[in-house]
């Protein structure tokens, strides 16, 4: 690869990853990607970051580190023509390791949306196969070692499990198994959420539990040798590790500590110890809260409906569009209200639906809309399960309607809004200028403190992780 700065699709096709991938597909991806040379020791990403780019090493080498409280451990090195970052790009999961350049390293950084377009491209099937294969290898080795259930297992046991385990992806609402099916596998959740339901006495499904990252299910049928006692359905896109019955049983047999752990868990399950209530599970599943990162929760026991939060939100944004709505789900006896405002989801549907890379997730988890790249297609608005995204018309954006105070003679100028600069939204990357822009709560990123919380005189609003609502 002679000149990496002016990398062409033809040059890229020589890479083993892109062999047999049609040039137009590669060209499209390349247009959205960036070639960057990192000096020695520079980090491409940090462990636990919520970034989602995919990296192809063109020249040099990248070291993979596992960050631990006591220090860091080098896991492996990725050489030129190999790739990393496919796990986060596929599932939006946090980075499982830190990547650091070893010597000057040239990397092709592919944004998530471009990666997903190529991944879904039927003409680029060889690319998908290679990514899937590598993903399975890495995710399995990585995940089994970290799973709560298998903590403390010696490496040979983990290797034995990894050899027979497979990785499976499920789309939203896909059923993993039905109640009454034969129990053949044990499952570990790597990313995403699932719900467990059982047929009630009246034949209607009864919600039993929801499974989040690092939880496991399917053990009842395997340990007790009985058919599946419940139905498990994906409530978000998720990927799970599937361990066959025989391998699972042999590990239980050879390592009694794990067997004891499983039996203790089953006993707790029978007694209902440590399980969230039916109501809590319903809240997480039916209101789709299990997807959420942090929710804006109004304490109705304090809220006097003075509307100061909404007014502060309006005044804090130049387009005068409120990002908070008091419609939402109430819980805790009606004392808490989940307001409709961006939750910065763990797996943002809006980001996955955007084909233009206009929705990005920052390293710390804040989902942001890039006004420069937004085309106003409104796909994100439809994809958001909470109705937290709205389309702001750009027609007359600089001529906001002023309140009656602004129309008063002499003192009215104190209330008038400053003349704003026209939004720089005209045709980014050669696209036509949009007629509307997607807007959502940006957590008042530029303020450092959220206006709705800051201006509430009764301390009635807070941002809370929904997981806290059921614990």
């Amino acid at each position: 690869m002679a000149n990496l700065e002016t990398l062409s699709a033809e040059q890229l096709a020589e890479e083993p990853l892109f062999g047999d991938v049609p040039a137009p597909s590669l060209k499209k991806m390349l247009g959205e990607s960036e070639v960057k040379t990192h000096p020695n020791g520079e980090q491409l990403c940090l462990q636990e970051d919520l970034t989602t780019e995919f990296f192809l090493i063109l020249q040099g080498q990248v070291a993979v580190f596992d960050e631990k409280p006591g220090g860091r451990e080098e896991l492996t090195r990725v050489d030129a023509h190999d790739w990393v970052g496919e796990m986060s790009a596929l599932s939006c999961a946090p980075r499982s390791a830190t990547l650091e350049a070893v010597g000057p390293t040239t990397v092709l950084t592919v944004p998530q949306h471009a990666f997903r377009i190529l991944y879904a491209d039927k003409k680029a099937a060889p690319f998908k196969d290679r990514i899937d294969e590598r993903y399975r290898e890495r995710a399995l080795a990585n995940h089994l070692g970290k799973a709560k259930l298998f903590r403390g297992l010696p490496p040979e046991a983990l290797d034995r499990l990894a050899d027979v385990s497979t990785l499976a992806f499920f789309e939203e609402n896909e059923v993993l198994f039905q109640e009454g099916d034969a129990g053949d596998d044990f499952f570990l959740v790597r990313s995403g959420q699932l719900k467990t339901t059982k047929r009630g006495p009246d034949g209607r499904p009864l919600l039993l539990a929801y499974n989040a990252e690092n939880s496991f299910f399917g053990e009842v049928a395997l340990v007790r040798d009985q058919p599946r006692s419940a139905t498990v359905t994906a409530i978000t896109r998720c990927d799970v590790v599937r361990i066959p019955r025989d391998a699972f049983r042999s590990v239980l047999k050879d390592w009694p500590a794990i067997e004891e752990r499983i039996h203790r868990h089953l006993a707790d399950l029978d007694r209902g110890h440590g399980m969230p209530t039916q109501k809590d599970v319903g809240l997480m599943v039916h209101s789709k809260l299990s997807k959420a990162g942090e929710a804006l929760v109004i304490n109705l026991d304090r809220c006097t409906h003075c509307n100061m939060c909404v007014e502060a939100c309006i005044e804090s944004h130049d387009d005068r569009t409120p990002r908070i709505s008091k419609r939402g789900v109430s819980f805790d006896g009606g004392t808490m209200l989940l307001a409709s405002s961006c939750y910065n989801c763990n797996m943002p549907d809006c980001m996955l639906s955007c084909r233009f890379g206009a929705i990005l997730r920052k390293a710390q988890g804040l989902v942001v809309i890039d006004a420069q790249a937004c085309t106003g297609c409104s796909k994100c608005e439809k994809a958001c399960p909470y109705g937290a995204i709205q389309m702001q018309s750009l027609v007359g954006i600089t001529q906001h309607e002023e309140g009656f105070l602004a129309k008063l003679p002499v003192i009215g100028r104190l209330f008038r809004r400053a003349k704003e600069e026209a939004a720089e939204v005209s045709g980014a990357k050669g696209r036509p200028a949009p007629k509307a822009l997607a807007v959502k709560c940006d957590l008042c990123a530029e303020r450092g403190d959220m206006a709705c919380i800051y201006y509430c005189p009764y301390s009635a609003i807070e941002r809370v992780n929904p997981q806290e609502l059921v614990t």
């Binding site: 006097t304 008091k326 209330f415 530029e446 005189p457």
Partner: protein, 338 residues
């Protein structure tokens, strides 16, 4: 869950210190200084002057809360420090580039980038309203902390709940202090008016405080099923739907049904109309919509009543406070003039 929220009004010791300490000092001063001074015009005059200055400052501090609340609408407060030729768009673009630079750890050290961010803030004339800070955030459980460049709006005035605490504490002290300042004797019509208004402001304020604590709980107990803010909109929507259906109907049944859409008919009238339009599906739909609307408004009526009382005290509290402020200004002017 409720522990996630900061202490409510009256739940922090600082509030009680702000309320009780000045009040105790004022009462002590009244006993030690004002009472022995009675009968001596010179000493009494000095008591009126000094306690008056303190009182004026207390009233001013209590009034400032209202200004702070209104300031959210004031452009010059929001843009305090912003210069005419400021370039917020340029700033955000250039800082975003820098932020991503820091995210990936490229090039410059955090300190150098902070200096660079401050330089850009100055160049774009935004330094008066924005500030650049480097924050160190943990990347995971117990892992190394990483630097992040943050551009924040300069917040000069503090959170609103603290302002409310100051308003309630100092306002209470000022209203009671007015009597202490007068040395427990009302000497003129103006004094009588000010004492009466202080009492009204104090009583309505205390009632308001009680209402802001009690009313939200009462509203929750109504179990309305939707935020009170949207009830009106939903009812309006139902009415418009019913009216749209009405316009499709023939004049004969329409005249009978129309009266039920917006009015408050008795059960007997409703039964009569239903009998007349029996078999007419459109009329039935109109009646269902009108009935739903009426049921919604009826179930929301107690909540509206509570919301009304939640605002009622302010309709007395605020005009009384403004009138009191006006009389205080007249009082100060007369003292200075005469």
């Amino acid at each position: 869950m409720a522990n996630r929220y900061p202490a409510r009004l009256g739940g922090r010791w600082q509030f009680w210190a702000l309320l009780l300490l000045p009040m105790a000092l004022m009462l002590l001063a009244s006993v030690w200084y004002a009472r022995p001074a009675r009968g001596d015009p010179g000493q009494q005059h000095s008591w009126f002057i000094w306690s008056g200055i303190v009182l004026a400052l207390l009233f001013l501090a209590a009034f400032v809360f209202s200004l702070r609340k209104w300031s959210v609408k004031l452009r010059w407060v929001r843009h305090l420090g912003i210069e005419e030729n400021a370039h917020p768009q340029t700033l955000s673009r250039r800082l975003r580039e820098m932020e991503s630079e820091l995210d990936t750890g490229d090039g410059a050290s955090p300190r150098k980038l902070l200096a660079e961010a401050n330089r850009i803030l100055k160049e774009t004339n935004m330094a008066g309203v924005r500030e650049a800070v480097i924050e160190y955030q943990a990347t995971g459980r117990g892992l190394a902390k990483r630097p992040q460049l943050k551009i924040r709006r300069r917040e000069r005035f503090g959170r609103m709940n603290k302002w409310l605490e100051v308003h309630v504490a100092l306002g209470t002290v000022a209203c009671i202090g007015a009597i202490v300042h007068a040395d427990w004797v009302v000497r003129s019509v103006l004094g009588l008016c000010m004492a009466a208004l202080s009492a009204i402001v104090l009583v309505t304020g205390v009632f308001g405080w009680w209402m802001t604590r009690a009313a939200p709980r009462l509203l929750v107990e109504q179990k309305l099923g939707m935020p009170i803010e949207v009830v009106g909109r939903v009812a309006d929507h139902l009415r418009r739907c019913a009216e749209a259906l009405l316009s499709l109907m023939e004049p004969e049944p329409r005249n009978h049904v129309a009266a039920l859409v917006t009015g408050q008919p008795s059960a007997q009238t409703v039964a009569q109309v239903m009998k007349r339009v029996e078999g007419d599906e459109t009329a039935r739909d109109v009646l269902v919509l009108a009935g739903t609307r009426r049921a919604l408004l009826k179930s929301a009526a107690p909540s509206f009543r509570i919301a009304f009382y939640l605002r009622l005290w302010r309709w007395i509290h605020i005009p009384s406070a403004l009138l009191l402020l006006f009389l205080i200004l007249i009082h100060i002017w007369t003292v200075i003039y005469f």
